[in-house]
Structures are given as structure tokens and as C-alpha cells.
């Protein structure tokens, strides 16, 4: 007998399914520049982080990375490891920053560092292992700029998602329930 999934498990599964869907759709959009994409699935990670805590965000991220790679056929490929590293790097930054939400930071203030950490983590992995070329750092500034922009965009999207009353009910310490 396997244990019955609890409500938290179902929420994580639902969020992971959304994230996988977003990532697969995004993979179908041709990017003008390799390495740059909107990262819409990170909206789901942020929602999971804010609504369910960082353990749930970690679970959703890992499920997304593995699930999307299964659908896209990239499991254990370089792209998979880059995706995994980016997700973990973003969470590493998000875990301490999440404590500042919502009093000192909004979702925007979480999304931007997450996007930058995502890009930096991927870049370091790429540079260390996949393409150890001395001129690879020349690509970093434009990638960081893209991360800044996509971070702002996903931050704004996350804010509007979190403002939805159907999501609000699940959000811990949401600005509307907190009197402070």
C-alpha cells in the first residue's frame, strides 16, 4: 500500500504539471538567441515558494526539470543538467530571500535575483564542464541582461498571479491577510 497523497502533495503535483506545461510550450518557441528564453515556468516556482514554502518550491522545480526533460527527450543531456543547475541555483538564492517576502520584497524582488542566479548557475556549469572556452565569459553580460529583463517580466507575472483570489486563499502571509 502506498500512502494516500495529502492536499500538499496534490498542490505540488498541480503546480509541477503547470510548470512542465509552460516549459514544454516555451521550448517550442524559437529563441532569437541561444540561451535566452523567458523562463515562464519560474512563475510557478515562485508561486510554490510563496504559497507552500521552499521545500514545495524545490519539489516543484525538480519535478518540472525531470518531467519536462522526459517530454522533450532531453533527460540527462547537457540541456537537462543546465536546466537542473539553473533551477537549483535559483532556489539557493530564493530560500534566504523568501523570508523577506512579503514585508520587504514583493514577487518582483524575488524573481530578479532568481533569474540572475539561474543564468549564473547555468553559465558556470557550461563554462566549467560543457564549453570550457576562454572567451565564453564574453557571452555572460548579454545573458545577465536578459536575465534581468526576464526576471522583471516573470516577477510582474507572478505578482498578478498571486493577486488572483483563487491563489490568494493558499498563500501564507499574503499581503491581504497580514494586517502589518
Amino acid at each position: 500500500m502506498t500512502p494516500e497523497p495529502g492536499p500538499a502533495d496534490r498542490r505540488i503535483a498541480a503546480l509541477a504539471a503547470l510548470a512542465i506545461g509552460l516549459q514544454v510550450i516555451e521550448a517550442a518557441i524559437p529563441s532569437p538567441v541561444p540561451g535566452i528564453k523567458p523562463g515562464l515556468a519560474n512563475v510557478i516556482t515562485l508561486v510554490a515558494l510563496v504559497a507552500l514554502g521552499w521545500r514545495a518550491a524545490l519539489a516543484v522545480s525538480l519535478l518540472r526539470v525531470v518531467g519536462a526533460s522526459l517530454l522533450l527527450g532531453t533527460l540527462l543531456s547537457p540541456g537537462f543538467w543546465l536546466s537542473l543547475t539553473g533551477a537549483l541555483a535559483a532556489l539557493l538564492v530564493l530560500a534566504p530571500l523568501a523570508r523577506l517576502y512579503p514585508r520587504h520584497l514583493s514577487a518582483l524582488g524575488l524573481a530578479v535575483p532568481a533569474a540572475i542566479a539561474h543564468t549564473l548557475g547555468q553559465f558556470l556549469l557550461a563554462w566549467a564542464l560543457i564549453v570550457p572556452h576562454p572567451q565564453l565569459p564574453l557571452l555572460l553580460p548579454p545573458l545577465l541582461l536578459a536575465a534581468l529583463i526576464t526576471g522583471v517580466v516573470t516577477g510582474i507575472l507572478t505578482t498578478s498571479v498571486l493577486a488572483d483570489p483563487r491563489i490568494q486563499r493558499h498563500v501564507r502571509n499574503s499581503p491581504t491577510t497580514q494586517s502589518g
Binding site: 523577506l100 512579503p102 514585508r103 520587504h104 520584497l105 514583493s106 514577487a107 518582483l108 524582488g109 530578479v112 535575483p113 540572475i116 564549453v131 570550457p132 572556452h133 576562454p134 572567451q135 565569459p137 564574453l138 555572460l140 553580460p141 545577465l144 541582461l145 534581468l148 526576471g151 522583471v152 510582474i156 505578482t159 493577486a163 499581503p175
Partner: protein, 123 residues
């Protein structure tokens, strides 16, 4: 204006913008250029030339003579027997790792920085 923004958001965005700006400045600033030219020819030991003065060197190859112009911090393939001018078209080799190739002369020219590193074949 978007609702729910906090003062920390401004700090975060400002720090991120500063980081991006700094990365642009650091990466694209004219920094340490290459210091050495490595001439690798099939069947011969690699030859090394310092990039500290202006001179022209000639390398004999299977198809003729490749002339290499060296200036402080850069080098280029000046003339090479290749009919398509690929070696010359590589232009000035100014960043560590830049290379020019003359297939007829079985010759690879590469400039290196202070530390030896991987080459562009890794792309």
C-alpha cells in the same frame, strides 16, 4: 504603478542592474591581450613568438610561404597561398584564443594570453 511593490524591490533591481552593468564593463573593457603567437604546422614542432614588437615572419609550407605580421599585442596572417584567402580573412588575432588557419600550408596560427587555455575548436 504596480501594487504591492516593496522598498526591497528597488534595492534588488538596483543591485541587479549594477551587476549587469559591471559585467559589461569588466568583460568588454580592453584588458590583457594575447602575449604570444603559436604557429603550429603539420609535421613540425609548434613555434612560439612573443607579441612584443613589430615584425614580419615567413613560414615555409607545403604550398608556399605564409607571411605573418606581428605587432604589439596582436598578429595576423598577411599573405598565404590559399586561393580563398581564408587565413587572411581571419583578420587581426587580438584576443587570447583567436586563430587563423591556412589549410594549403597545413598551418594554424593562434594567439595566447598569459595562461594557456582551451581553443576555439571547443565550440
Amino acid at each position: 504603478m504596480m501594487k504591492g511593490l516593496r522598498w526591497g524591490d528597488a534595492v534588488v533591481v538596483a543591485v541587479a542592474t549594477a551587476l549587469v552593468t559591471t559585467s559589461f564593463a569588466l568583460t568588454y573593457a580592453p584588458g590583457s591581450g594575447p602575449t604570444q603567437l603559436v604557429v603550429t604546422q603539420a609535421g613540425a614542432e609548434p613555434r612560439y613568438y612573443g607579441l612584443d614588437g613589430s615584425r614580419t615572419i615567413r613560414v615555409d609550407g607545403a604550398a608556399g610561404v605564409t607571411e605573418i605580421e606581428i605587432q604589439p599585442g596582436r598578429a595576423r596572417c598577411l599573405r598565404s597561398p590559399g586561393s580563398q584567402g581564408i587565413c587572411e580573412a581571419a583578420g587581426w588575432l587580438e584576443r587570447p584564443g583567436d586563430m587563423a588557419v591556412s589549410l594549403p600550408n597545413r598551418l594554424v596560427l593562434q594567439v595566447r594570453g598569459p595562461r594557456t587555455d582551451f581553443d576555439s575548436m571547443h565550440y
